[in-house]
């Protein structure tokens, strides 16, 4: 059995990255039970900071698995420890999320709506303009996010959220703008290059669907979008060689057969840039095919390719 340290590090990583926000229900149940056991069996061997970080994780997991009573208990534990610190934004955030979860939205809003200098809480405040039941109707939400980003221009998480929101409603150019904003602040975030590439690809799909003619300039425009997408995937690969998503992205783009056939006609007509694009595509397809076969499992491939068929 894995020893305590390994399990602990796993939990701490989940807590600090917040990756549980994307867990599916079985995963939530699994980790909730596991963490509960872990805290019971070896909670007293942990350092204080680690312990309270894990309590925070336990709070979220309990709330997400609808164990409201447990969540409340953990929250009270945290409040008992740090309750005299009225200034803690982190605690207020937890309290507000708890209230929101049990349906007391007004009180949740009240709790964080006091001081504009409390930036963490202001960020949470933004989410109150979202339709929680129907996320696709996000016009207000996007507007509020934009307002927040005007106040906090280098909040990367907010930029990422805005990018995803734009992507949801098909404004791919704006989504790309947001993701590029993140890359400007840290130019080595390879998952974001992948996101940019993905959004270019969506943009291509969107415009191809609306394509009625096979005019030359239209096709060239589409090709440029694909080149942008491909370039971003390639950049992700350049930073991290074995990035499965990046290779699958390249493979998908190079395998757009019907579109490539259209381009083929153009290149036969003597267009140099098209010819070059198609040639590069061919080698890239070979390369990415072998790479995908090398280290992407079928299961993984399936889950990645799902993102491409929007």
């Amino acid at each position: 059995m894995a020893d305590v340290n390994v399990v602990k590090n796993n939990f701490l990583l989940i807590a600090s990255s917040g990756s549980f926000a994307n867990f599916n229900p079985p995963q939530l149940i699994y980790y909730h039970d596991k963490l509960q056991q872990f805290l019971l069996s070896s909670g007293d061997t942990l350092a204080t900071v680690e312990l309270f970080n894990l309590y925070e994780l336990q709070f979220y997991l309990a709330l997400l698995t609808k164990n409201d009573i447990e969540a409340k208990t953990v929250l009270n534990k945290l409040l008992d420890q740090f309750g005299n610190n009225k200034k803690s934004q982190r605690l207020k955030l937890l309290q507000s999320i708890y209230l929101e979860a049990i349906g007391d939205k007004e009180e949740a809003l009240n709790l964080i709506n006091r001081n504009p200098d409390e930036i963490q809480l202001a960020r949470r405040l933004v989410t109150f303009s979202r339709m929680n039941e129907n996320e696709d109707d996000n016009e207000d939400y996007i507007e509020t996010l934009n307002y927040f980003l005007d106040l906090q221009p280098s909040d990367l998480i907010a930029w990422s959220e805005l990018g995803h929101e734009y992507s949801k409603i098909g404004h791919y150019d704006k989504a790309i703008h947001c993701f590029k904003e993140i890359l400007l602040q840290d130019s080595f975030i390879y998952p974001i290059y992948y996101q940019v590439g993905l959004n270019y690809y969506y943009q291509f799909l969107q415009e191809e669907k609306n394509l009625k003619t096979e005019r030359k300039d239209k096709l060239l425009e589409l090709m440029n979008i694909l080149i942008n997408a491909r370039n971003n995937f390639l950049r992700a690969i350049e930073i991290f060689d074995d990035y499965p998503k990046g290779w699958v992205g390249i493979l998908t783009i190079t395998k757009l057969n019907s579109f490539n056939d259209k381009l083929k006609k153009l290149s036969d007509g003597g267009l140099k840039e098209v010819k070059q694009y198609l040639e590069q595509n061919e080698s890239l397809q070979k390369l990415s095919n072998s790479k995908v076969e090398e280290f992407v499992t079928t299961e993984e491939y399936g889950s990645i390719i799902k993102q491409f068929s929007k």
Binding site: F20, L64, E161, P191
Partner: protein, 132 residues
Amino acid sequence: MATSSSTLVLYFVGILLLIHSGYSSYEFHKLSSLSHHSQDLPQDILLETLIGIVVIVIGGISSIENPNALSLNGELIIPEHKYLKPIQMKDSVKLNEKIGISDYEDLNSRLPFINIVKKRKEYDDFIKSSEQ
């Protein structure tokens, strides 16, 4: 990080050797200052000191062993390099990518913006559908 028992043994032996050699040299100096012959330190004491230092250094190096990790799928991942972490980015991100949580996961999870109401509803639906 993880101090294994072998590390502790190495530390213990090394420190014991150092203390013993230190005491020996102290005795030796006392003796030589009493007899007013200044002599060089005997070889064996010197050797003992050196061995003690080497043993402690070995213990120190083995204590920086990279810990194993656990992936999101519950698999145990043994890091590629036993000691020291890779310097190049393409190698260093590999481990977390295998775990399933990349170094930039916070930009993907966006926890501060979590839609807690919807996530709880999803969970509800899942429980209901699995009960049927």
